[in-house]
Amino acid sequence: MIIGWGHLEATRLGTTLVASFLASLVECVEALTVVLAVGSVRGWRSVLAGAAAALALLAAVVGVLGPALARIPLRRLALVPFHVVQLVAGGLILLFGLRWLRKAILRSAGLVPLHDERAAFAKKAAAMREANAGSISGWDKFAFSAAFNVTMLEGTEVVFIVLAFGAGGAGLLLPASLGAVAALLVVAGLGLALHRPLARVPENTLKFLVGVLLSALGTFWVGEGAGLGWPIPASASPDLAILLLIAAYLALAVCLAPICRLQARVVAEES
């Protein structure tokens, strides 16, 4: 068996699963808002067909590429040493995680407007009402295309998120994929049940948490790839460093939001 579970720590698996679930949840909610907006104006048949076609295409791509990636024995890959894979995956996750964390901090500080699913829904619905109103009755290419595009777009982002998490170590692709599939099922289920945008999903809090988790994971993987050491007892698991990094990033982010707000106020008064 190429993917072994024995050497993997629960911290690493759990963090990857939760981070993948939360990050995918944010993307799925954004896709759902557009699908609901288009469907409520143009009818459901073409919209659901568009979303289903995009999901089928994504599933086919992942179905072909996924097993091939999972079979690559990363630690034994002669051409690319494992520490290089960890460095690249860690670097990508750091870029992604710190970007989300920075945005979440600035939103918490009131310097960047919060993402409003209701406003996004209303804007998209208005655009759909104005566009090609004559074709709504029959097969609606416009609605199909809108649903296909947004599902493909957000779905591709989810695939990249899963690949970035999965590349951090052998056996991480499965928890990362499970997290993404769970997010899709949760959002699709809620969308079917409620038929309205999930405006109550605390998007910024999710981005804040995902940013903290990803930044911690990315820092850990870059550190592991570079052979850096962590101030933990020699007898403890190296994954204890992930928990310390999560705590450190969380403390930093919680402190930084009010500092940014204060600085913006001071600068505004001076100007």
Partner: protein
Amino acid sequence: MRWIKSIAREVWGLFVDDGSFAAAILVWILLAVVVLPRVAPAARCDGPALFAGLALILIESALRFSRRSAKCRASG
């Protein structure tokens, strides 16, 4: 073809929105990989030093944005 361009742009946007922020992270990672193992006073200090550098980059970028944003608002 338009949606392929949109997807490429969105995927790029997943990792980069502020170019200088992304560049600073990459440069610090490079320095951490090449320099830190050689200059850290103890083996267990280099991991925290990697975190400290990333934390400083985040702080500087967030404060720079808040300064710029406040100036823009003040000037109308």
